[in-house]
Point group: C2
Chain length 154, copies 2
């Protein structure tokens, strides 16, 4: 997977959380999957389909970070990963992917997005099933960690 | 969502497990999401994108059933939801969706499939984020339960 494919998703997350939740994340070093497993408590998963490529993306949050973003975005203090937090993570997933889609479209890569699904459950892992490369992007913040995992079949 | 949209996915799961793992599931009554939550231990998630529709599908297995199918499909007894089981669930997800895609294409509904992602984690839930209807299809077997959740934006 080319770097120019990855950066738009990193920017998508950083910009979305900065604008919508005044929360600054620090992007760590991208890792090829297999030497890294991302665990978290709530995740958004979204599929991408273009004429030439298929892929999927997941964005996983640790509980504390998700609750912090929820409070900042909706001005509402919640103490557990309820349906409202799941909806918010679904929205964020759409925003990251939509933002990257726009940026990649300008570079000549076109794809459409499926409907996002949100996974809730303490300490789960997500594994993208594809023959192509899988990349994990780690993020840190003062409130907890997040991970994006992306794969495309080329 | 129309019934003709749902049945191909039911048949896809029943046929896949019967053929590949000699495991018979009994399909329960489809339920509209909101009065039902599917919990399980390992799930495949896949996005679908057509010219007119976007949607996603998840197939969730209880641990016991996933381990049974693993043993039947690969002739290998495993005792935990490891990477091999995740790969198998990814394969099954592809097969269900591919089988339904063929059947729906004959009826004039065309979509392409994204890459599947597999979620592992005790007792997680998956929630599809869409304005359209969300349908849960429950399945029972002698070895545990499975759930398909499907949504399309129309």
């Amino acid at each position: 997977m080319k770097v120019e494919f990855v950066n738009p998703f990193i920017n998508g997350l950083l910009n979305t959380l900065s604008m919508m939740a005044q929360t600054e994340l620090r992007a760590g070093k991208p890792k090829l999957k297999d030497d890294a497993v991302a665990r978290g408590d709530v995740s958004g998963v979204i599929g991408m389909v273009g004429a030439q490529v298929q892929g999927s993306l997941s964005i996983t949050f640790e509980e504390n970070l998700a609750l912090h973003v929820m409070e900042k975005m909706l001005g509402k203090k919640v103490t557990e990963l309820n349906h409202e937090v799941a909806d918010m993570v679904g929205e964020i997933t759409n925003m990251i992917c939509g933002s990257a889609k726009g940026e990649l479209s300008e570079k000549g890569y076109e794809f459409n997005m499926a409907t996002p699904a949100v996974v809730t459950g303490k300490n789960h892992t997500i594994n993208h099933q594809v023959d192509g490369p899988r990349v994990i992007l780690p993020f840190e913040s003062d409130f907890g960690r997040a991970f994006i995992e992306i794969c495309f079949n080329k």
